[in-house]
C-alpha cells in the first residue's frame, strides 16, 4: 500500500473527529508552547547568571599570582608589560583589563567599612559592570585619576556623598600600611547592593604609586564566545608561566553549578509536561483505533498488511503531534515576543539578587532548544502510538467484520 494513500487515510481519520482532535491539538499546543516559554526563561536566567558572574570583574578567564585567591594582597602580584595584549583574534576578544584588587578599609567621618579597592584603567573596563553602570557625578578619567568611584550602597552606609573625602587604609607592597585621603568622583548604581558595597574603584597607576609597585594582581579577559575559552587559556598559560589561569566556572563554582543545573531543568520540565500530555494522547489514539475496529477488519480483509496498519496509526499520531508542535512553537515564540521586554521580578528584588538573577528576566529562545523540544515531542508521539497501533494489528478481520 502506498505511503500517499496511508497518509490520506490518516488525514481523513483525523478530520473525522474534529472536536476531539482539536482538543488534543490544543493540549499539545499548551504543552509545547508552555515548555518553549518556560525554557526561554530558564535560558534567560542561565544567561543572566553567567553574565553577572562574568561582569562581576571576573571575565571569562582570569590570571592571578599563585596564592592570591586564598590570601589576596599586593604582595601576590605580577608584572604586565605596558604594551601587552592578549594574543587572541579580535573576533573572539571582547576586551581585557589589568587591575589591582586588594582588601582595604574605608572610613568617613562617621563610619568604617571593609571593601575591595580596585585600581583600574577606565578605558579597559568596558568588559565589566563598571562600563555601563549608572552613576552620579563623574567617572574616573584615566588610570592616573586619584579620585575614587564608589557604590551607592556604600555611600549610604558611610553617610557621605560625591565630592567628599574618604580615608582608605591598605597594605603597600612593602607590607606596611598606607593611609590616604581620596575624593569621591562619582557614585555608581550596580545591579544589586552586593557589588555596590564591595568595590571601590580608583585609577590603576595612581594606586600603584601609592602602594609602591608597578605590578597588578589580576588580568581579566572577556571573550565574545564562552566556547573559545580553552584555547585562550593555553595561550595565557604559556605567556604567564608560573601564574594561575582560571575560567569563570572555577572562579564561581556555585554559579557554574547552577548554570549546569539549568540545562537539566529544561529536560525535567519537558518530561513533566509530556508526562501530563501522554495520558490524553494515548487515550485519544486508542479510541480512534477502537472505534474503527470494523474498518481495520475490512482493510485487513481486502489485503492491507499488518505493517501498514501500524504505519497508519503512527502517521495519525505523528500528524497530530507535528501540527501541535508547530503551533506550540509559534505560540511559545509569540509569548516570548510579547515578553521580550522581560519579566519584571523587582517585586522580589532581594530574593532575586540572592539567587544571582537580575530583577528583569528576558526570555531567550534558542533554535537548538526549539529543535530539541520538537524532536523529543515527535519521538514521544510515535512512542505513544505504538500501543494503539499494536491494538489495531491484533484486530482479527473475520471477528471485526462480524460485529
Amino acid at each position: 500500500m502506498s505511503f500517499a494513500l496511508l497518509m490520506r487515510l490518516s488525514l481523513r481519520n483525523i478530520l473525522r473527529h474534529r472536536r476531539r482532535n482539536a482538543m488534543l491539538l490544543a493540549a499539545i499546543v499548551v504543552a509545547v508552547g508552555g515548555v518553549t516559554f518556560m525554557n526561554s526563561f530558564i535560558r534567560g536566567f542561565q544567561q543572566d547568571l553567567r553574565d553577572s558572574a562574568v561582569n562581576n570583574l571576573t571575565g571569562h578567564i582570569k590570571v592571578f599570582a599563585p596564592g592570591y585567591r586564598d590570601d589576596p594582597g599586593i604582595e601576590r602580584s605580577f608584572y604586565v608589560a605596558g604594551d601587552w595584549r592578549p594574543d587572541v583574534s579580535s573576533g573572539l576578544l571582547e576586551g581585557w583589563a589589568a587591575r589591582i584588587r586588594i582588601p582595604a578599609v574605608i572610613m568617613s567621618e562617621r563610619e568604617t567599612r571593609g571593601v575591595q579597592l580596585v585600581g583600574v584603567d577606565p578605558s579597559q573596563e568596558g568588559i565589566s559592570f563598571l562600563g555601563d553602570a549608572f552613576y552620579e557625578g563623574e567617572t574616573l578619567a584615566d588610570e592616573n585619576d586619584k579620585r575614587i568611584f564608589v557604590g551607592q550602597a556604600l555611600v549610604d552606609q558611610l553617610d557621605t556623598k560625591v565630592g567628599r573625602r574618604l580615608v582608605i587604609i591598605t597594605q603597600g607592597a612593602d607590607g606596611r600600611n598606607r593611609e590616604a585621603g581620596f575624593r569621591i568622583a562619582g557614585v555608581y548604581d550596580a545591579e544589586g547592593t552586593g557589588l555596590e558595597k564591595a568595590f571601590v574603584f580608583t585609577g590603576r597607576a595612581a594606586l600603584q604609586k601609592m602602594l609602591d609597585t608597578r605590578e597588578v594582581t589580576e588580568v581579566s579577559i572577556r571573550l565574545t564566545n564562552d566556547g573559545a575559552g580553552s584555547s585562550v587559556r593555553s595561550m595565557l598559560l604559556s605567556y604567564f608561566s608560573g601564574l594561575e589561569v582560571m575560567g569563570w566556572r572555577e572562579l564561581e563554582p556555585q554559579i557554574a553549578a547552577m548554570f549546569v543545573f539549568a540545562d537539566t531543568a529544561i529536560f525535567i520540565w519537558f518530561a513533566i509536561m509530556m508526562g501530563a500530555l501522554v495520558f490524553g494522547l494515548v487515550n485519544s489514539l486508542i479510541t480512534a483505533v477502537m472505534e474503527r475496529v470494523k474498518e481495520f477488519g475490512m482493510l485487513r480483509a481486502v489485503g492491507m498488511r499488518p505493517g501498514s496498519v501500524i504505519v497508519q496509526v503512527v502517521i495519525e499520531s505523528s500528524l497530530l503531534m507535528m501540527s501541535g508542535v508547530a503551533l506550540g512553537l509559534v505560540v511559545g515564540w509569540l509569548l516570548c515576543q510579547w515578553m521580550s521586554e522581560g519579566l519584571d521580578l523587582s517585586q522580589w528584588a532581594s530574593g532575586v539578587e540572592m539567587v544571582g538573577m537580575r530583577s528583569v528576566v528576558v526570555p531567550r529562545l534558542y533554535g537548538a532548544d526549539m529543535m530539541l523540544v520538537a524532536g523529543l515531542s515527535l519521538v514521544l508521539g510515535i512512542v505513544a502510538s505504538l500501543y494503539p497501533a499494536w491494538r489495531a494489528v491484533k484486530i482479527k478481520p473475520l471477528e471485526a467484520m462480524r460485529r
Binding site: R20, G114, V115, I272, F279, G280, W348, G351
Partner: protein, 423 residues
C-alpha cells in the same frame, strides 16, 4: 386513594437520583481503559503537584528555620532610628528593664542583647575592617545555631576571646590563639581600642559574614565602647519564624515608641522573597500541568458524548430530562476525579513520607550555594493543606467543567435523530 396515587410520583425523583448514581458508576467502568487513562492523567497531576508542593513547603520551613536560626533570630528590637541609619549612637538604653519586659512578654522564648560596631581589626602589620558583635555567648549558644559553623578552635569562654570568620582570619594572617587589636570610634567620638585573642574560626558559607564578622562577649564590647546598661539590639526568639510578625507588633505595643521591633522578614527580605518567587514559578508550572490534564478530561467527555449519543437519545425518549442526563455525566466526572485523586495521593504518599523522613540532600556543588541562600544542606517535605489540597480542589472544578461543556449538547439532542445514530 388520592394520597396513594400521589406517592409514587413523589418517590420517583428520589429513585431516579439513586439510579443516576448507579448508572453513572456503571458507566465509569464501561470503558475501563479510557477510565484508567483519564483518571491516570488526573492522578499524575495530583501526584506530581502534591509531592512537589510538599517538598516546596517543607523546604520553606527548613529555610526559614535555618535563616532565622543562624544568627538573626525571629525579632530584633532596636532604637527607632537604627533601621534607617545603623549608627553606633542609636542604642537602646535601660537595657535590663527592657530585657525583663521582653522576657516576660507572651510568646517570647528567649531574649538576648547584642552590641555591634564597625572596627578596624589588626593582627601584626595587617588591618581589615570588621563588624564586631558583642553577645551573651552562653545564652546565645542555646538559641542560635551559629556556633555549629565553628571550623577550628572553641567558642569564646573568657571575656577577651573572639571568634572570627575564616576569610577574615586568612586576610589577617591570624589563627587560633593569635592576638587582635580592635580600633573603633566609641561614644561621643571617643576612640575605642582593645585587644582580643582568637579562640576559634567559623565558616558560615555566607561571604559577608565570613569576611567581616567578629564575635566576642557583650561585656567586652560594652566596656570598650563605653556603654553601660545599653545595647544596640535585643534578639528575641519566639515560638517560630511565622509568628515573628505578630510577635514584633505585640512587643512594640508593650515597649512603646522607644523601640522598633523588626521581624526577620524585614531583616532578611531576600529569604521571604526567594520563597515567594519559588512559589510563584511553581504555581505557573502546576497551572500548565492542570490545564493539560483538563484538556484530556474534556477530550474524554467529547468521546463519551459521541459514543453514547444513541444511548442518550433512548434515555430522552424514555422521558428522562436533559438535565438529569447532564447530572449523570457530572457524576461520572466526579467518579473519575475520586479515582484520579486517590491514585495520585496513593502514589504521592510514599514519596512525601520519604521526603519527610529522609529528605533530599544537595550534592557537594550545590551545598555551598544552599548555604549562601540560608538553606540547610538537606531539605525535607511537609504535609500542608496547600500540598494536599491544591491539585485535588483545582482538578475537581476542572473535571466538572470539562464534563459539563461537551454534555451541554444533550440539551439540544433530538431523541429521534439520536436513536438513528449508530450505537
Amino acid at each position: 386513594m388520592s394520597e396513594a396515587a400521589a406517592l409514587p410520583v413523589r418517590q420517583a425523583p428520589r429513585r431516579s437520583g439513586d439510579l443516576l448514581w448507579k448508572t453513572a458508576f456503571r458507566n465509569i467502568w464501561r470503558n475501563r481503559r479510557r477510565t484508567w487513562l483519564t483518571a491516570g492523567g488526573i492522578g499524575f497531576a495530583v501526584f506530581l503537584i502534591t509531592s512537589s508542593i510538599s517538598l516546596q513547603d517543607g523546604s520553606y520551613i527548613d529555610q526559614r528555620e535555618s535563616a532565622t536560626g543562624l544568627l538573626t533570630g525571629h525579632v530584633q528590637l532596636v532604637h527607632p532610628d537604627y533601621p534607617d541609619e545603623s549608627k553606633f549612637e542609636f542604642f537602646l538604653g535601660d537595657l535590663s528593664d527592657k530585657l525583663r519586659a521582653v522576657r516576660s512578654a507572651p510568646g517570647v522564648v528567649a531574649a538576648t542583647p547584642r552590641v555591634q560596631a564597625f572596627v578596624l581589626v589588626s593582627a601584626d602589620e595587617r588591618s581589615f575592617a570588621a563588624q564586631v558583635l558583642g553577645i551573651d555567648v552562653a545564652r546565645e549558644a542555646k538559641i542560635i545555631r551559629f556556633f555549629e559553623t565553628l571550623q577550628e578552635g572553641e567558642i569564646p569562654h573568657a571575656a577577651d576571646e573572639a571568634l572570627i570568620g575564616t576569610a577574615l582570619a586568612r586576610n589577617l594572617g591570624a589563627g587560633v590563639g593569635d592576638e587582635l587589636v580592635l580600633l573603633g570610634s566609641g561614644r561621643r567620638g571617643g576612640v575605642a581600642a582593645f585587644a582580643l585573642s582568637v579562640s576559634g574560626l567559623f565558616q558560615t558559607g555566607i561571604e559577608e559574614l565570613d569576611r567581616s564578622l567578629l564575635l566576642t562577649s557583650l561585656a567586652t564590647v560594652q566596656d570598650g565602647f563605653g556603654l553601660s546598661d545599653e545595647a544596640h539590639t535585643i534578639v528575641v526568639q519566639g515560638r517560630g519564624p511565622l509568628q515573628a510578625r505578630p510577635l514584633a507588633r505585640e512587643l512594640e505595643r508593650t515597649l512603646g515608641s522607644s523601640v522598633r521591633a523588626r521581624p526577620w522578614q524585614e531583616l532578611m527580605p531576600e529569604v521571604e522573597q526567594g520563597i515567594e518567587l519559588d512559589r510563584v514559578s511553581g504555581d505557573f508550572m502546576y497551572g500548565i500541568i492542570m490545564i493539560l490534564v483538563g484538556f484530556s478530561v474534556v477530550n474524554t467527555f467529547i468521546m463519551v458524548m459521541f459514543e453514547r449519543t444513541h444511548e442518550f437519545g433512548m434515555l430522552l425518549a424514555l422521558g428522562l430530562r436533559p438535565w438529569s442526563i447532564i447530572g449523570m455525566v457530572q457524576l461520572e466526572a466526579f467518579g473519575l476525579w475520586v479515582l484520579g485523586t486517590l491514585m495520585g495521593w496513593l502514589l504521592a504518599l510514599p514519596l512525601v513520607i520519604y521526603f519527610i523522613v529522609w529528605g533530599i540532600s544537595f550534592g557537594d556543588s550545590m551545598e555551598q550555594l544552599a548555604e549562601q541562600m540560608y538553606m540547610p544542606s538537606s531539605i525535607h517535605g511537609a504535609i500542608t493543606v496547600r500540598a494536599m489540597l491544591t491539585a485535588p480542589v483545582v482538578m475537581f472544578f476542572a473535571t466538572q467543567v470539562a464534563a459539563f461543556l461537551p454534555s451541554l449538547r444533550i440539551r439540544s439532542l433530538n431523541p429521534v435523530d439520536a436513536l438513528r445514530q449508530e450505537a
